[in-house]
Symmetry: C2
Subunit: 282 residues, 2 copies
């Protein structure tokens, strides 16, 4: 079994990115956070710290959880008109807000999180010069690094959200894989995962993917994160048992997590260096 | 076996639409055609005639096949700034043109063909107040009419294009189906189609879907059109043999074809009546 060592590749990407940053003309990322979700606070700190480490300036825009859609959108519109390299809205948003209306008000040329309808649609058109959402980009970048082949392979993705599973399905479809997208309504899911050549899980249930769900020599990637009974962070993969069957496997930590941060930063630096206003498809 | 009678439902939709048109304030559709592809000419005639029949005004914009991207885009930008109800570009375009750059220059609020990146992305976000591409909309509308249930069903789509298979996959995913998208690189496709509860084929090969590819009681929908050796139009479905196994089946003609025209016209009239500039997600 080959370990898909995301931490190692992420460190390499971050080091390459750092060399590209001109301290006299640093990239800039605006981060909007609504309310005080503790997980969001942790992620934002993590991203801000990673930006700082390689020389990207960040501005945090904390908003009270009583704001309405138009207040968030007004802020985004204001930021759209600045020369910032990228704007991101930390998810989840409080449920009274319209997530997509807010995300879609980000200028697609500053959408470094790749979550606007336009960025998502470009991906499904096969136009990968658009911004690609960081965690799907992390998965494909890591698999590419380990020279995994996609053409004609059956990829099964357990997650059907516009943030993770669906952009991933586009990336694999663009690479001529046959893609099945599963979720909580999927019936007899083991029967489907058992046919996978590549299995991607972003569920958020500890040890969700067990060894009896895969055939020999499957490539298995876990993105889901949850907390177990004792409050300890846990991943989707029953790593120990899977490691006897899988051809390639991500560790539950040090796999896609660090790669996701690296890919977000890569998007910010690409936006700053090349700009995406020249995106031929926009 | 229940015949999925698209012609009958399309006639009913067209008759309902006709009643909505105010002759003193008719909707208007701009159709751009590049070059002289005979199939395109046929489709454009068909659509124009259908528009005329229910009172939608059309303007045809024929462009020489030597035009470049910017000439087509300039025309689209000019039309974007008019008060037309909808703008569509007849496909295929000559290969020297950048299809997506051209399609993506249509104002999403006038994108009645639902082919811009923004419309496609909204669909994947589950925001179905956007324009939905006519043939995917035709499939889901027809299946809805026959009260086919989607939640937890396995839908297999043989077509992975941004125009047909991918928007269809979004529509079914939004309805909690498990979706597999197949294409010419798919290995052992029969093994996959055999697990389908609902099978959609948009391949363009005569009798591509045969009875040995499905299990009992599958819902089978054919969209593909081809010409056989004698130049006669043919569909994807081996209708005779499939009819002994399928629970529901489209005829090879009079199924999705007429529904697609009706759905395009429905988009034009919705655009004219309600406008989509108020689309909450845009």
């Amino acid at each position: 079994m080959i370990l898909l060592d995301g931490k190692r590749l992420a460190d390499q990407i971050l080091s390459d990115l750092k060399a590209k940053v001109d301290p006299n003309n640093p990239p800039h990322l605006d981060i909007i956070v609504v309310g005080d979700n503790p997980a969001s606070a942790t992620y934002v700190k993590l991203k801000s710290k990673a930006c700082q480490d390689i020389g990207i300036k960040t501005t945090l825009h904390p908003l009270d959880d009583t704001v309405d859609n138009s207040q968030v959108i007004d802020l985004i519109k204001k930021l759209n008109s600045t020369d910032t390299s990228g704007i991101m809205v930390q998810l989840p948003l409080p449920t009274h807000l319209d997530k997509y209306q807010i995300l879609n008000s980000i200028d697609p040329t500053k959408d470094v999180d790749g979550l606007t309808a336009t960025s998502l649609g470009l991906l499904f058109q096969g136009v990968e010069t658009s911004f690609i959402s960081a965690s799907p980009l992390a998965v494909i970048t890591l698999l590419d690094h380990y020279k995994i082949k996609f053409q004609g392979k059956h990829v099964v993705i357990v997650n059907n959200t516009p943030l993770v599973g669906l952009p991933l399905s586009a990336l694999f479809n663009n690479r001529q894989a046959t893609v099945t997208v599963c979720h909580k309504y999927t019936q007899d899911i083991k029967k489907i995962t058992f046919t996978a050549d590549i299995l991607i899980s972003a569920v958020g249930i500890k040890n969700y993917i067990t060894a009896d769900m895969i055939k020999n020599n499957t490539v298995v990637v876990g993105l889901g994160v949850s907390k177990d009974e004792s409050g300890k962070m846990a991943g989707d993969l029953d790593f120990g048992h899977l490691s006897t069957l899988a051809s390639h496997l991500t560790p539950n930590f040090g796999g896609i997590g660090p790669m996701t941060v690296a890919c977000l930063l890569k998007n910010v630096i690409n936006s700053h260096t090349h700009g995406l206003s020249k995106n031929p498809a926009l």
